[in-house]
């Protein structure tokens, strides 16, 4: 099963390698990892999609929390907003171009570049939506594709903030 984790980390050089190194070292499977700045310039936010049962996810959270550069780790709820971005270079001869554009419109994606033989399509959405478009475009011939990892944010008032110490461990809930 896939789980999404939001991780606030210090914006230092080398932090990403500490986080990614932990995954390979402990044998955890990462499905995707995306990192970027936050509203606070000293803090970066990493969104990690991990594959595993509840024991694995618990271990991942605890091991991440042990890293000194990690400020906060939180599981992102299932009903959260998740987005990926993909750029897809697809073969588009004059004869097929029109069909492709129609398809893209259905997905509310955009054509961002065009020449005689190709289109570049930009799409944002959750993983399933992007995969669905990719499947449709395969028939025309995908020449090149680049896709980001997922980023995710909770809806409503629930926020991932450095609002409490990593200490003050809540024994009841956070430990298996």
């Amino acid at each position: 099963m896939k789980h999404i984790l939001g991780v606030l980390v210090e914006n230092h050089p080398g932090v990403l390698s500490k986080v990614s190194g932990l995954f390979s070292r402990r044998g955890f499977n990462i499905y995707s990892l995306a990192v970027g700045m936050t509203e606070d310039p000293t803090v970066s936010r990493i969104t990690i999609v991990v594959e595993g049962d509840s024991y694995i996810v618990e271990q991942v959270i605890k091991q991440l929390n042990k890293l000194i550069d990690v400020i906060k780790v939180s599981r992102i709820e299932e009903d959260s907003l998740t987005r990926e971005l993909a750029l897809i270079k697809v073969k588009a001869e004059p004869a097929t171009r029109h069909q492709i554009v129609e398809l893209i419109n259905i997905f509310r994606a955009q054509v961002v570049d065009i020449n005689k033989n190709h289109l570049i399509v930009e799409i944002t959405g959750d993983s399933e939506k992007i995969t669905a478009l990719v499947d449709m475009l395969k028939d025309y011939g995908i020449e090149e594709m680049v896709r980001t990892g997922a980023i995710a944010i909770n809806r409503g008032r629930k926020m991932l903030k450095d609002d409490r110490n990593k200490g003050g461990y809540d024994n009841g809930n956070n430990v298996l």
């Binding site: 929390n65 990690v70 990593k166 200490g167 009841g172």
Partner: protein, 555 residues
């Protein structure tokens, strides 16, 4: 105050109360060495950088203070890795300083460049590559804080040569502020209540202490708890010393190499109280079979250890001394209903090392040693059969007096760690128990002992084999002894003489007591070689259940 980066390093060490540093100089650290030479800190020149890290580790284990080691860039730094990893696996606080090529050259594969922060990433609690000389005071303050608090561990500071040469305005911070690092010391009150209830309901409680109980300094609290709730106490290898080995409630060392009484008690207990014991594979064997009848309480300062290896019913994140102190304020007593008398019977079961016809019996040597040494003696072991024999047959009476490489199992650890322990505790007797294989792994450090006039008492149990592997070959490879016979061993008595160390050999049973007396009475480094039966085993072949477990364990 204006000073150079190198001077700032030394000033920071002085402000942290460092009085001894283990190291080996080289091109990238000459400026730091120049500043060190003008300070009051005593530098111990080892013969290989690995020994610098082991020395700092032995010092830290014996004293409870942070050990410090230093090496140059490149090979100096990579040589230290084994010592750093050894300390990491046993949660020992050390600060390792490495030189680095100038910052402007980093990444260009210049002479003696190695990415040491990258290479030690899996073996350090935290590491720094200093990029700005002004950061040095803060980094040192943080490094000592991180190494010594929470679950202790090694911290590495990599200092490029140009940073050491630059000038800065030195101001040492009073406190650290790390928003991502705030260890929890006090266990949750609700969990403590649940723990009390579980204790009151139990009929066969068992306490198991690990390395965390030693580093927490919780011996008094653990003794009070055990006595008040009438619970026997078993120990992991790293926990030895956290509870006095001669106490009537002590069961000794548990696990695949452990003693019968401890393992039997784990099987039968209905409540298992783990105190700073991560229950590694060597302590549990197959986790499905481990403590099947018991409810498990686990107190540990590292939340990631709770529930990692075995299932836990009552998890308590916190420092053992602090949390037990709180628990003992409550009205908690338990009467014994015959559990202790059953446990006492198990303690009577005789276990040995097999018939010893070809040489001395190592169990007898270690038991004799245990009876003859002063109570505060620090026993340092290396890794292998002798280490397990020491765990089983030596009665450690005080915390921080049984030093061993438990987690990583690093052969070659013993000699430099014993040196570090002795330099940290000159008032205590330090005995190094070591095999002929392990001694040769860092043999060169004999010179460091002599140079430091460190009266470490070295007891070689010489069986002419890599005994632990030989035992595996005997039991599961049909007795095909391959590459475990140590041919070409030196004459250790003559070798001692070459270093100017007193040396002697014991080959007969009648001379065991004489030999140990000689070791203990000699005022200086001394080597006593005890020639033991090469076929003596950790667990003799007797076809029992424990034997199978043992074979599984070492295989």
């Amino acid at each position: 105050m204006k000073m150079t980066g190198a001077e700032a390093v030394v000033r920071a060490l002085e402000l942290e109360g460092v009085d001894i540093i283990f190291g080996y100089p080289g091109g990238a650290v000459t400026h730091i060495y120049d500043a060190l030479g003008r300070s009051s800190i005593h530098h111990v020149l080892v013969r290989n950088e690995q020994a610098a890290a082991h020395g700092a580790s032995g010092y830290a284990r014996a004293t409870g203070k942070v050990g410090v080691c230093i090496s140059t860039s490149g090979p100096g730094a990579t040589n230290m890795i084994t010592g750093i990893a050894t300390a990491y696996m046993d949660s020992i606080p050390i600060v390792a300083i490495t030189g680095q090529v100038p910052l402007s050259m980093v990444g260009r594969d210049v002479f003696q460049e190695a990415d040491i922060t990258g290479a030690t990433e899996p073996f350090t609690k935290y590491s720094y590559l200093v990029r700005n000389p002004e950061d040095l005071p803060r980094i040192f303050k943080e490094a000592f804080h991180i190494a010594s608090t929470g679950r202790p561990g090694p911290v590495l500071i990599d200092i490029p040569k140009d940073i050491a040469m630059a000038t800065l305005d030195f101001k040492y911070p009073d406190e650290v502020n790390l928003r991502g690092y705030k260890p929890t010391y006090m266990g949750h009150p609700g969990q403590i209540k649940r723990m009390i209830k579980a204790i009151e309901e139990s009929r066969r409680p068992l306490i198991c202490v690990g390395g965390g109980a030693v580093s927490s300094g919780a011996t008094e609290e653990i003794m009070e708890l055990a006595e008040r709730i009438k619970a026997p106490v078993a120990s992991t290898l790293m926990g030895i010393g956290a509870f006095p080995g001669d106490h009537h409630l002590s069961l000794g060392f548990l696990g695949q190499h452990g003693v019968y009484a401890a393992n039997r008690a784990v099987e039968e207990a209905d409540l298992l109280i783990l105190l700073g014991a991560r229950m590694g594979d060597r302590a549990t064997g197959k986790t499905e079979d481990f403590a099947q009848k018991a409810k498990v309480i686990h107190i540990d300062i590292d939340p990631a250890e709770i529930g990692k290896n075995i299932g836990v019913n009552i998890p308590i994140v916190g420092d053992i001394k602090t949390t037990l102190g709180e628990l003992l304020k409550k009205d908690i007593e338990r009467n014994d209903w015959g559990w202790l008398s059953r446990v006492r019977e198990w303690k009577q079961v005789h276990e040995g090392v097999g018939d010893c016809r070809e040489g001395l019996n190592p169990m007898e040597i270690i038991k004799t040693l245990s009876d003859m040494v002063p109570e505060n003696t620090i026993l340092v072991t290396d890794v292998g059969q002798h280490q397990i024999w020491a765990g089983r047959y030596y009665k450690t009476r005080r915390p921080r007096t049984f030093l061993t490489s438990g987690g990583l199992g690093t052969m070659g650890y013993g000699l430099p760690a014993a040196l570090g322990a002795k330099l940290g505790c000159r008032d205590k007797e330090v005995v190094l128990l070591i095999g002929d294989g392990g001694l040769q792994m860092n043999l060169a450090e004999l010179a460091t002992l002599v140079q430091e006039r460190a009266p470490v008492k070295i007891m070689i149990l010489n069986n002419g084999y890599l005994g632990m592997v030989r035992e595996i070959q005997e039991k599961i490879h049909g007795g095909r002894y391959y590459q475990t016979r140590m041919e070409g061993n030196p004459d250790f008595v003559k070798l001692a003489d070459a270093y100017g160390i007193k040396g002697f050999r014991v080959e007969s049973q009648e001379k065991i007591v004489w030999g140990i007396k000689k070791l203990l009475s000699w005022n200086g480094p001394i080597i006593g070689e005890f020639v033991i039966d090469p076929m003596a085993n950790v667990i003799p072949i007797q076809g029992g259940k424990e034997d199978e477990a043992h074979i599984r364990g070492i295989g």
